[in-house]
Every structure is written in C-alpha cells, then in structure tokens.
Symmetry: none
Subunit: 123 residues, 2 copies
C-alpha cells in the first residue's frame, strides 16, 4: 500500500506531474505538453498516480481533468514521519496538525505529544 505509493513518487516525471496538478486542474493533453515523451507514456504515469490515490480524475466532455489528491500526500507524509520518528504518532495526526496550524503551530505540537506514546523504539 505505502510501498506502491513510494514507488509512484520515485519516478521523476511523476513527481513533476504531481507538481503540475497540485494547485490547478489540468487535462491529460496539457500535462503531456510539458514533457518530451509521448502522450501514452504520460497517460500511464497518470494511471499509476491515480491507482495509488495521489491524484483524482474527473471527465469533462472529451477531456479528463486531473488534480492532486491532498489526502494521498498527507498519508504518505504521515508514513514517512512515522518511519523516521519511530511510531511517534498515528496516521490521522498530520491532518489534525494541518488544521491546527492555521491558528497556532504550537497547538499542533501539543496535539502530537498528547496523542503520542513512549518512543522507546529500540528496533
């Protein structure tokens, strides 16, 4: 699950695609225009990104519009944080922190401490 998401992220072209559709919605053709490879190649990359939940797609006439899925990115960030921080928090933490950060970052940190457990992670 997380493994496939990581594999999707590794490909440089897919990271670039993710950057393109992070804030705006783009059609497959518009995305392909940013690269030198053929459109089918980009279509495959989009399929991979959609399969792992990093982008969403909606049809608009003959076009298909893609957009980054913030939740997918959040989940990946949560996993990576967990990986490095030694199971300091759970998956839902990042979303809570993001919400709390709008008013105060310190509050988010406090939430992390509150939700966290002992980090005696001697693997």
């Amino acid at each position: 699950m997380i493994d496939s998401t990581l594999k999707a992220i590794v490909e440089p072209r897919r990271r670039e695609i993710l950057r393109l559709v992070r804030h705006v919605e783009l059609s497959a053709g518009e995305i392909a225009d940013h690269f030198d490879v053929t459109r089918p190649a980009i279509s495959q990359h989009l399929g991979v990104l959609e399969a792992v939940g990093l982008v969403t797609m909606r049809r608009a006439g003959t076009k298909r519009l893609y957009r980054a899925r913030p939740e997918g990115l959040t989940e990946l960030r949560a996993f990576l944080s967990d990986f490095w921080d030694d199971r300091l928090q759970q998956l839902g933490y990042m979303a809570q922190a993001a919400e709390a950060a709008q008013t105060a970052e310190a509050a988010a940190v406090a939430t992390a401490r509150k939700a966290g457990r002992d980090d005696t992670g001697t693997a």
Copy 2:
C-alpha cells in the same frame, strides 16, 4: 542527488536495513541474518545506502559496522517538505485548496490555460 536518495529509500529491504541500524550499530553479517537473501545481496544494499549517505561504515577488525546517518534522513525530509509545501510555509494550505477547488474549478482550469508552459520540468 535527492533522486538517488529516494531510489535508495524505495527498496523495502533497504528501508528495513535502515530501521535496524537506526539506533544500534550492526555488522554486515548481523544485518544479513535478518533476511532470507544471501549476504552479497545485503552487501550491495549497504553499498547503495552508504553511497547516498544514509548510513556510515567503520571497520572493527574483520567486521564492518554500519549505522544510520541522521543527517541523510534530515536532508531527505527537508526535500520532501519543500516538495509538498512548495515553499509555502502554511501547513493548512492543502485543506483550503481542496475546499476552494470545488467552487472555483472553472477558474482553476482557466488559470492553467493561462499559465501554459512556465515550467518544462527539470527535476
């Protein structure tokens, strides 16, 4: 640079190795004992991890002791944070974008057309 680091992280066995030597120093043989593959295979993984600066090695007699290099992990985390936050310090931006996109999808598409090819991708 970051690309090779990401590639090193993607391999599940290398992530497991990284977990093993995160807090304690282990010899190549001890690390290999945790896996079903042969020692040369683990040796190759260790070589990759060392090449990208995710682990350090020191010789102790006939043994070679490996340990995670925290700085390497920090650099990768910094890159990933920069990638997702787009050097916009606000953590809660994603939620706002997702909410706003529902009401201003047409505007987003228009913006995309207007933006055209500002970045041809040189990751």
